[in-house]
């Protein structure tokens, strides 16, 4: 039951993200290239998250647990990598603005970079470690 609750919650969060993205794009008017890239990354993240949810659902349907000690360890490891990526992307985000754009990025832009990069690192390292075994 706990597994099913987690899966339903993940689907609701993904639906919420997609709905927010839809309303954002509808009200955005003309969309710039960097916004298209950000939206693309969000869609990739949602897609990968849905793959993880589907994988868990498949196990629950077979009467197996959605998550066990191996996946819990992988979660911790991927979370650690995402944390390191968040620190470096916060640092790198401000540097990129200074070096390449000639001005500092706004706080909101840096926050978006940090969330997207750390989210991406989490999902990719989770999937990699899950396939590797440990």
């Amino acid at each position: 039951m706990k597994d099913i609750k987690g899966i339903v919650l993940a689907i609701l969060v993904a639906a919420g993200v997609l709905l927010t993205l839809f309303f954002y794009l509808r009200g955005a008017g003309e969309i710039e290239l960097n916004e298209i890239i950000l939206v693309g990354i969000v869609l990739i993240l949602v897609g990968l998250a849905m793959y993880i949810v589907w994988d868990r659902l498949k196990n629950v349907q077979k009467g197996l647990p959605a998550k066990d000690e191996r996946l819990t360890n992988i979660n911790y490891k991927a979370g650690y990598y995402a944390f390191i990526a968040a620190i470096w992307s916060a640092f790198g985000g401000t540097m990129i603005g200074d070096i390449f754009l000639g001005h500092e990025l706004k706080g909101g832009d840096v926050t978006a970079i940090v969330i997207l990069i750390s989210g991406f690192v989490f999902v990719v390292s989770y999937l990699y470690l899950a396939r590797k075994g440990n």
Partner: protein, 64 residues
């Protein structure tokens, strides 16, 4: 680390999925332990040994 899980599974005519259901883990976890790609916790090693009616010492072959 090598294991005798596959051999003992065959003795009791258990699939990876059957064993996974018995001890409450995912099938992939059994697969990775068998291949030596995942070192289980002591608790999980104990549960597998119990399910296969053997001991941890007999189930896992530690190489120095």
């Amino acid at each position: 680390m090598k294991t005798r899980i596959k051999e003992l599974r065959a003795r009791y005519d258990l699939t990876q999925e059957d064993l996974a259901k018995k001890i409450g883990v995912r099938r992939e976890t059994i697969l990775f332990i068998e291949k030596g790609n995942y070192n289980p916790s002591l608790q999980l090693a104990h549960n597998i040994a119990k399910a296969l009616q053997t001991t941890i010492d007999d189930l896992f072959i530690f190489e120095e």
